[in-house]
């Protein structure tokens, strides 16, 4: 897929041919109405991009750039930018300075023997050619088929749900979590949760479950007097008191010695 011809992207990019070969499409003229400048600036990716555009547009020889001409054209552009949108021009101003420097170095009298490497334009040309190659490579990447756009990948359904085990929690995890809560909640610094209180809380939950099943229960139905030992009965009683105190249940009694009924609030 390597040697296809390189398609054009939108204006103002142009066919990348040099040395006499004509481009196939002429870009629009240099003049840009001021209100369109922002849009126009978006068309360039930076000073190198703009320079390349100017070189191609005016059919300049990139290997023998007429520095005076290019610099003048470039400065015209940058002046437009500077007037309209100063903050955009920073990278471009740097390039202006570089172009002027190259131009002035070329005006200096040349030594009799000039090594080609000493051409002040060499570095600029190298950068331009390299940037142009990157630009073309980028266009090429954009044209390559892409998963999700031009390539549809199989992703049929696999029922893995049954295979997945839920996370395990150890007692240590739970204790760590509880400690964290207590540490953060400063108003609980003096809070106490003892084993006994936990039994009470467990009974509170149990009693609420029982009451959920039956709308109303007789007080004595909440106790298993035959099987539960005294401590458990006490805990159960405390749980009922705590539930009543927290307003989660209500206790009713019609008269003295009549049955006490318990129901959820």
């Amino acid at each position: 897929m390597s040697n296809q011809s390189l398609p054009l992207t939108e204006a103002p990019q142009i066919e990348a041919r040099i040395h006499g070969e004509k481009w196939t499409q002429l870009p629009q003229d240099l003049y840009i109405p001021p209100d369109a400048l922002e849009v126009y600036l978006d068309a360039f990716e930076g000073p190198l991009d703009l320079l390349l555009y100017l070189i191609r547009k005016h059919n300049l020889d990139i290997l023998d750039i007429p520095m005076a001409q290019l610099t003048q054209q470039y400065m015209d552009y940058v002046e437009h930018m500077r007037v309209e949108k100063l903050e955009l021009a920073a990278d471009y101003l740097l390039m202006s300075a570089m172009l002027i420097e190259i131009k002035s170095r070329m005006l200096l009298p040349k030594p009799t023997l000039v090594a080609e490497e000493d051409d002040p334009r060499a570095e600029l040309v190298r950068r331009l050619l390299e940037y142009e190659a990157i630009k073309l490579a980028a266009e090429r990447l954009d044209q390559m088929p892409q998963v999700g756009v031009d390539i549809m990948v199989a992703q049929a359904y696999l029922d893995k749900v049954s295979e997945q085990k839920p996370p395990q929690v150890s007692l240590d995890d739970l204790i760590d979590a509880w400690q964290n809560v207590l540490k953060r909640a400063s108003h609980f610094a003096h809070h106490k949760v003892g084993r006994a209180e936990l039994s009470v809380r467990e009974h509170m939950s149990q009693i609420m479950r029982q009451l959920k099943g039956a709308s109303m229960l007789e007080f004595t139905a909440l106790f298993d007097i035959v099987n539960d030992g005294i401590p458990k009965l006490v805990v159960c009683f405390l749980a009922i008191l705590e539930l009543a105190r927290e307003g989660l249940i209500s206790l009713t009694q019609q008269g003295a010695y009549s049955p006490i009924y318990v129901q959820l609030n």
């Binding site: 696999l158 839920p166 929690v169 809560v181 949760v193 009470v200 609420m208 479950r209």
Partner: protein, 201 residues
């Protein structure tokens, strides 16, 4: 329709169903073709596809209809093999979930508001849902305040899964208490235990 046209449509359907992340409805599938296509035609093509795949031995994938449409799924017999590809890396619950669970365990029955007050942050409804789905907590009632918020408590499954006989087996937190006294005045332990817990039988 000509045979090669049918074959082409089946290939399009097959590729669409195999590459779609979601089941495809008949409406979805009719959008695959530029020309109008009858639902009856689509159903016929789907039937044929289903049979084509069933006839292969052994069956690798099945075309099935689910609530939102049709999809290919791996044959159940192969799932044990495919499961080896993604060994369940031990998942972990978030800290938020563990803290919520701890609060429900130690302070039950509690409302979401209670949990939020203790943690100082809003409780993600997902957290509660996850715990309910795991059957570790359930709703035991509503508190009689405006909005009648649900009261959550831990379940027997929670105790079973954590290998506890009762909540009383959870370590007590005397170590956070400056003066070890017991609010409800029962079952004083003989000594102050420090963390990690001392679980007594």
């Amino acid at each position: 329709m000509e045979n090669n046209q049918i074959a082409q449509m089946k290939a399009v359907l097959e590729a669409a169903l195999l590459t779609s992340a979601m089941p495809l409805s008949l409406d979805d599938m009719s959008r695959l073709f530029p020309e109008r296509i009858e639902r009856a035609t689509l159903r016929m093509l789907l039937d044929e596809l289903t049979q084509d795949w069933q006839q292969r031995q052994p069956v690798s994938m099945r075309l099935v209809q689910v609530a939102s449409g049709w999809r290919f799924q791996a044959s159940e017999e192969l799932v044990p093999f495919l499961a080896r590809l993604s060994p369940d890396r031990p998942q972990r619950y978030s800290r938020a979930l563990l803290e919520t669970l701890a609060i429900i365990a130690y302070r039950q029955p509690v409302t979401r508001g209670d949990i939020e007050e203790l943690r100082g942050v809003a409780v993600n409804p997902n957290t509660i849902r996850q715990l309910i789905e795991r059957d570790w907590i359930d709703v035991v009632g509503q508190r009689e305040v405006p909005g009648r918020p649900s009261l959550y408590a831990t379940t027997k499954t929670f105790l079973d899964d954590l290998n506890l006989k009762s909540l009383a087996d959870l370590p007590p937190f005397e170590s956070f208490v400056q003066q070890p006294e017991f609010a409800l005045g029962v079952a004083q332990p003989e000594s102050q235990s420090t963390l990690p817990m001392d679980i007594q039988e």
